[in-house]
Symmetry: C2
Amino acid sequence: MSSSPSQSAEDYLERIHELIEEKGYARVVDIASSLKVKQASVTSMVQKLGELGYLKYEKYRGLILTDKGREVACKIQNRHETLSRFFSLFGLDAETQKQDIEGIEHHLSPETVEMLADLAQFFEDDPQMLRMFRQFRSAAKRKAG
Amino acid sequence: MSSSPSQSAEDYLERIHELIEEKGYARVVDIASSLKVKQASVTSMVQKLGELGYLKYEKYRGLILTDKGREVACKIQNRHETLSRFFSLFGLDAETQKQDIEGIEHHLSPETVEMLADLAQFFEDDPQMLRMFRQFRSAAKRKAG
Ligand SMILES: [Mn+2]
Ligand SMILES: [Mn+2]
């Protein structure tokens, strides 16, 4: 975890940001239950993220993201958003989509994410193209099985 | 690691299969150096994979994959192949591509891999379409900056 946060740190920042957006605050107990980890793990990661300048603890308000933390969290959120846009074009079921995205999002280079964003845009801009691809898929499936 | 192997077990099976294909044998020391892990970790994973029926140790030949192990290794290899086909269409540099694939391959559902295979096929079958997408990307980049 040097200049950019580790993959697991990214998960924490993403979730803390979401909790603050949803509820106005991020409690250790909520972070733990949402990431399915122990509260002790949350406490130790929160401390690390604090030392790295991504978040701080304020009396009365609780955990808040610093500007630096919010910037990283927004990038993570945008990336998740891009992957959702891309995957949602192709008729995968919602649960599969969610699991795949959570699995891969921290392993993709910015270049690949940008390419997937462009692919999503390409098909979104041209519904005719998307229909052609869907027909291509159905035809391929009929041939295969 | 119940019916299907864990993500890290998949890495081992993939690499052992590759080593056997390349050199005719897979030694603990080669597996360790290729996966950048300690020999002790290899020994313990090899034992686990043996207990699960994916590989066995034969005198004189060394480690070999069982039929079950070879089947899983082939599936992993095919998935890697699909991802390579998909990514190689879009002009990412080879090292980025490799790292992204190694990062995500064990986190993708069969449905998503199939969708990416179909996308690759769609563009491979119609070079005109691929040119259109490349032009779309260049235009998007010019607009963005
Ligand atoms: Mn996410
Ligand atoms: Mn691989």
